[in-house]
């Protein structure tokens, strides 16, 4: 009897995780498309992105409803509880990531009306690629419950920050030398900030994964190097 209940609950959890993964896929596509529409000045794509954001909000609400229902009806404990709560946290995180992508798309619409600033949009594209790859890695890690992969992303966020700082300086230089570029540059600056936030969300996903699998937060400062003080993270490695 109890075995049946547990198996049923296990199926529900798998289902919940699958829904989070689907939402993750949608958000991932939104982010990479938003970078693409800035780089290629693609107005049509930007409008599609803005429209698709509704779908993400719906998915978030649905996951939330299901997770709360599971907590109420099945009263899970230990890892089952963590998995349920993680799904909730993931949904919130992904929803905000989707919002950032939508904001980028909206700004792309404005930018498409101004003169192209090719070197700058290239810098955005570069940073965007980096962020997209972080998000992809983080989601891959979450989907396949790969702790170490998640930790690698968690400690790689510094790279995104460096790119953001460098972009910031580059934009300032442009704005100072030619005031006509101030308006598009300001939009690009916000896009950079949005991307930087998406990078943060990718690290949040890694944190959620760590919590789900170990029950603990990742402690300490973000390690600069995994090998040095982070050896306990990959104990099963050797």
């Amino acid at each position: 009897m109890s075995e049946h209940t547990l198996k049923f609950f296990g199926d529900e959890l798998t289902q919940l995780k699958a829904e989070v993964t689907r939402m993750g896929g949608l958000v991932e596509a939104q982010v990479s498309d938003s970078v693409e529409c800035v780089a290629r000045r693609d107005v049509g794509l930007a409008q599609i992105i803005v429209g698709r954001d509704v779908k993400i909000d719906e998915l978030q609400k649905e996951i939330e409803r299901k997770a709360i229902r599971m907590i109420a009806l099945r009263q899970p404990v230990a890892q089952d509880l963590r998995r349920t709560v993680s799904a909730l946290k993931m949904a919130w995180n992904l929803e905000r990531t989707g919002d950032q992508a939508k904001n980028i798309a909206k700004r792309a619409l404005v930018l498409a009306e101004a003169e192209p600033l090719t070197p700058l949009t290239r810098a955005i594209e570069r940073m965007g690629k980096l962020v997209v790859s972080h998000l992809k890695e983080a989601l891959d890690a979450y989907t396949n419950s790969e702790l170490e992969r998640g930790l690698a992303i968690w400690s790689a966020d510094e790279d995104v920050d460096e790119h953001y700082n460098s972009l910031f300086r580059e934009l300032l230089t442009y704005m100072m030398s030619d005031p006509r570029t101030i308006s598009p540059c300001a939009h690009l600056l916000f896009i950079g900030k949005n991307l930087e936030r998406i990078g943060d969300h990718a690290t949040n996903i890694a944190e959620i994964l760590h919590y789900e699998m170990t029950g603990e937060d990742i402690h300490g400062d973000r390690p600069r190097r995994l090998g040095a003080d982070g050896d306990h993270f990959h104990g099963d490695d050797r």
């Binding site: 993750g24 596509a29 989907t143 490695d237």
Partner: protein, 516 residues
């Protein structure tokens, strides 16, 4: 699970994209024999077309089996499979009994078809599902070898969502499963190497409540990349060639005008023009080699190259320049054969050459440039640095990964590290170093001006090799550039500890004293 699904059905639903220009009748004689055999044994009454098709399927199987890892054979197999698919699909629209006939109970004759599907060089998946909303119920009934390698999934039983998340593809799969429609979508994946994929989906006959569909993925990176590269190349080339060209034109004007009879000025101008023309030539060379590398970036090189030997070759070649600059080149590498990496030797030499060249260019007279090769590192070790490094302690200094490979299971890396005593750079320059034509302001690279493409070339080559690149630098404290490549040695797991220890840095570093 695969038992209930006849591979011919899978084959028959593949998209008809390469039918044109392929004549099934022109198959090798051995294949024709095979076909005849199949015909007499099992399908003596069947229509000729069907027989030929079956024979061709066997050929694919034969190619797949006997061709082994031979890429060409696999590619041909792919074409034939697709053509067969098209032929069968056309047939099946008029003769629905074919599928029923094909899905007879398991006999040894089915094996070739299973092998055929397995040998298709493009990732191929069969999805099974019962309810549209049951996400956890959509599972892979079968994944062929290419799909397993790409998506890191088992042959059967994986959740569809753990293999593919892309919303367009999921929608197309749903349409095939529950709407009976074929789909065709394309998407781009992120990650270190961009890939463009085209995905076909098609419904298969359902088994009871279980609905099935087939997914075929094809890598279209080549053609998409070609388009983009052409545009980028033109933009880069025209912009960068303008400056030296303007200077050449200026001098030509002058020589035609008032400097016509001034011998001293003429000699000097011709000298400058020579330098500019050289620069233009180098620029064109570098741009061409960069676009060549970029075109192949997603194709992993297959050869092997001893990084230790490659480094010592480069050091020998640079000896003269080092001597001129009065810079000591010191080399520390593991013994021959201990630092072999998977890679294209010429390109790896170019990486080392570019890094060493840069180090020499910025080294002060009397300085030391160190080149170290270390083998047997895990990804974490290869991308790590010494936390006590003086460059990290400096307030303006820092360290940044310019390229990090996608994580692969337990791979080992060989790292080549070039340390110079040059002026170093502030942290803020690091993210843009591998950018084309980026220059750190205020730095003098000496009389021989670079093209600004050196590090971009390095980055793309390393990326092609699925390796990584990092830099560490601080003003007045020099720079370190490190590139690491996947080792050709065994994987990290299951390798004896001794084997890992062996390729530690050689005890007596070889030092070339330039200023003897």
């Amino acid at each position: 699970m695969l038992k209930m699904l006849h591979p011919v059905e899978v084959l028959s639903r593949l998209p008809p994209f390469v039918l044109d220009g392929l004549n099934i009748m022109e198959l090798p004689p051995s294949a024709a024999n095979f076909a005849t055999q199949v015909k007499t044994e099992r399908f003596s009454g069947s229509a000729a077309v069907l027989t030929v098709t079956w024979g061709a399927v066997c050929v694919i199987a034969a190619l797949g089996v006997f061709g082994g890892a031979n890429l060409t054979a696999a590619a041909i197999a792919g074409l034939v499979v697709a053509a067969v698919g098209a032929a069968l699909a056309a047939r099946m629209s008029t003769q629905p009994s074919t599928a029923a006939k094909a899905s007879e109970p398991e006999t040894p004759a089915n094996q070739p078809f299973e092998d055929a599907v397995e040998a298709v060089p493009d990732p191929l998946l069969v999805v099974g599902a019962e309810e549209p909303d049951d996400l956890a119920g959509k599972r892979l009934v079968f994944a062929n070898a290419a799909a397993r390698a790409l998506l890191r999934i088992p042959r059967e039983g994986a959740l569809l969502l753990s293999a593919i998340r892309r919303p367009e593809v999921l929608e197309a799969v749903d349409e095939s499963l529950f709407g009976g429609l074929s789909g065709n979508v394309s998407f781009e994946t992120g990650g270190a190497q961009d890939r463009f994929w085209r995905v076909w989906t098609a419904p298969l006959p359902s088994r009871g409540v279980k609905r099935l569909c087939v997914i075929l993925m094809r890598d279209e990176t080549d053609s998409r990349r070609n388009e983009r590269m052409r545009a980028d190349f033109l933009a880069n080339a025209s912009h960068e060639l303008r400056t030296p060209l303007a200077s050449l034109t200026g001098f030509i004007e002058t020589l035609r005008g008032h400097a016509r009879d001034d011998e001293a000025a003429r000699d000097r101008f011709l000298g400058i023009m020579g330098v500019q023309a050289d620069r233009m030539a180098r620029l064109v060379d570098d741009l061409l080699s960069l676009s060549r590398i970029e075109l192949n970036e997603h194709i992993r090189p297959e050869g092997a190259c001893d990084l230790g030997l490659a480094v010592s070759d480069v050091v020998d070649a640079l000896g003269l320049i080092a001597k001129e600059k009065d810079v000591t080149l010191s080399l520390a590498a593991p013994p021959k054969g201990a630092a072999v990496v998977v890679g294209d030797r010429d390109q790896i030499v170019q990486v080392i050459q570019n890094l060493a060249d840069n180090a020499l260019k910025y080294s002060p007279r009397g300085g030391v440039t160190k080149i170290e090769v270390t083998a047997g590192l895990t990804l974490a070790e290869a991308s790590a640095t010494d936390p006590r490094s003086p460059r990290l302690i400096s307030a303006d200094g820092g360290r940044l990964s310019l390229l990090t490979p996608d994580r692969t299971e337990e791979r080992l890396y060989v790292c080549v590290k070039v340390t110079d005593q040059g002026p170093g750079m502030e942290r803020r320059h690091l993210p843009r170093l591998a950018e084309r034509f980026y220059r750190v302001e205020g730095q003098k690279s000496g009389d021989r001006q670079g093209t600004g493409l050196g590090l971009a070339i390095v980055k793309h080559i390393v990326n092609r090799h699925r390796g990584g690149l990092w830099v560490e630098s601080a003003p007045e404290r020099g720079s370190v550039f490190a590139a690491y490549f996947p080792s050709a040695a065994a994987q990290a797991s299951g390798i004896p500890a001794a084997a890992v220890e062996a390729p530690a840095p050689a005890e007596a570093p070889r030092v070339i004293r330039a200023a003897s």
